[in-house]
Symmetry: C2
DNA sequence: TCAAAAGTGTTAGTATTACACCCATGT
DNA sequence: ACATGGGTGTAATACTAACACTTTTGA
């Protein structure tokens, strides 16, 4: 193969040759000659890890409601992975931006506007779909609390309670380098179903080269590599709540500071001290004149967000 | 279109119909019937923002060498964007993982092993390539200092000095929400060329919905949306050097603490105080018994990394 | 002797952590 | 009265930023 050919259209991959001789073409001629259907291509899908927070009444009237972190999953009706649970997704249309595809899916699956939508990762292992080569671009999406409702006809959709806990965290030094392995357990629960998945995150340093990878250790209920995507989404959620203050995308317009703290605790999966938490978020919220006063204890003031991005 | 058809293979996009009737098929039958070439698909490329650090002797023997952050660009020989500079990239082969494609490109363009390779973002605006629909998955890659050499035949490749400075940073409150606009200036310099590009990052909050986007304000020298990719890569580099300690991927095996500080200063684009910097990184390095003693001042001890991931 | 950089110490201010305490409400 | 959560204060500690100073080398 000539050098000239190799550099055609950036450089080409060995398996999808681009047999175009384009030297000395004008841009117009080039475009006319270029035929995109000449080459084999992977398919591209968008998959969405959609989270929200839900309040469930606790039996006791004195006690506060309990909060749950929720993830939307879809039961697959067809092969492959028939009957397993998958993230809502879709192929990307030729005439829509990647992000438009994500918003389209959100509209199809939910009744309310998406508060937050951010790209997570492009999953491109060649064996991740047994049918054909599919690259999936995953998104992290958040709905405000109290937006659990779904369009009525989507029987296969289900909101799962989800939580992720670190099962083990080992780091070892070998003669050739260092290695960290973290195993996370993800628990999924809804009315009829409850299951558990184990995902390992590896960071390996060998001869000065860093490699990071994720592996599914145990999963009999989720489709494709969606266990990895979900674990990755939860890890991102934890980062973003600390550095980028995305908690406000999960909160209603007005809220109590305890409700806000509960959301932090849910996502970080750890208890926080009230006084310290309030000092930490003080500059991001402002008082309203409203109170939440139905419970059998001192009414709590409602707050709203200000300076979300500072 | 029937509901049944719509749900075929997750759900489909409106523009690339999947006319398969797969009810009641076994997985094997399904795979035989499924023909991936039946649908129009976007092309997928991988583009790499490859950085390294270079030391250039300062005229004065007393003074230390000057450090530069380097980015590898490739002059396009063909339309579109002929003569402009682009990130090295390639189409993704049908039989290679996304990350394999990235490693393949690295091998083609560089003579030394990549110390660090991490996915940045999947760029999917439908007009980003004037020829056809191309989705580009970009990677951030780092080479160790002293690895500037390229395979001899790649005349179109060039290492540019690069630096990014914040030009403006405005936040405004409107009646409908908040808005932050940050303009960054990227300066590119190599022997024969020198140019400047302006990229704006917007974070807009409107009616409880957050949108983040990047826009090219001024660019006559880079191809496609690569100015955005490069700005994004530099932003990521800044985050990662603070939280994930990726500086060590740019350093040689042994180095002086001043060299390490210079790398931090290059990437963060700000001066740091020596004493404070040393306390901060103290737990990540350990002394060796070697010294760098060629210069006309007190010789400095060489260190190496330990606990890179803590 | 001097320029240049290596390397260390001190202090003030700020942020983080853990804990203790009082307040307001409906039952 | 009391269970429950709302709300605040304090003290110990750790971290950070800024600056000043001493040491070592080759020219």
């Amino acid at each position: 193969m000539s050098k000239k050919q190799e550099d055609t259209i950036r450089s080409k991959s060995p398996k999808s040759p681009l047999p175009i001789q384009e030297d000395l073409l004008t841009e117009k001629e080039f475009l006319e000659q270029y035929r995109s259907s000449d080459y084999e291509k992977p398919s591209v899908t968008v998959d969405i890890a959609l989270f929200t927070v839900d309040e469930e009444a606790s039996g006791n009237h004195r006690k506060n409601e309990e909060k749950k972190l929720k993830l939307l999953l879809m039961r697959r009706e067809h092969h492959p992975f028939k009957e397993r649970w998958a993230l809502p997704g879709s192929f990307v249309g030729m005439e829509e931006d990647l992000e438009d595809a994500a918003r389209r899916i959100m509209k199809e699956k939910t009744a309310v506007p998406t508060a937050y939508l951010d790209q997570l990762y492009a999953w491109g292992e060649k064996e991740r779909d047994p049918r054909l080569r599919i690259i999936s671009v995953s998104y992290l999406a958040l709905l405000r609390q109290g937006c659990l409702s779904l369009p009525g006809d989507k029987a296969s959709l289900c909101w799962f309670d989800i939580d992720m806990k670190r099962l083990s965290n080992s780091s070892s030094h070998t003669d050739r380098g260092e290695e960290i392995r973290q195993v996370d357990v993800l628990c999924f629960t809804c009315e009829k179903n409850s299951f558990e998945v184990h995902v390992e995150t590896r960071i390996i340093l060998e001869e000065g080269i860093v490699r990071r990878s994720m592996h599914i250790l145990k999963d009999e209920y989720l489709a494709f590599d969606h266990a990895k995507i979900i674990a990755h989404a939860l890890q991102r959620l934890r980062q973003r709540i600390e550095y980028d203050n995305i908690a406000f995308c999960l909160m209603p317009e007005e809220f109590t500071l305890t409700q806000l703290q509960q959301v932090y605790e849910l996502i970080l999966d750890q208890k926080l001290l009230k006084a310290n938490f309030r000092r930490k978020i003080a500059s991001m919220v402002e008082e309203t004149d409203n109170y939440k006063k139905d419970a059998a204890h001192r009414p709590s003031r409602l707050y709203r967000f200000v300076n979300r991005f500072s």
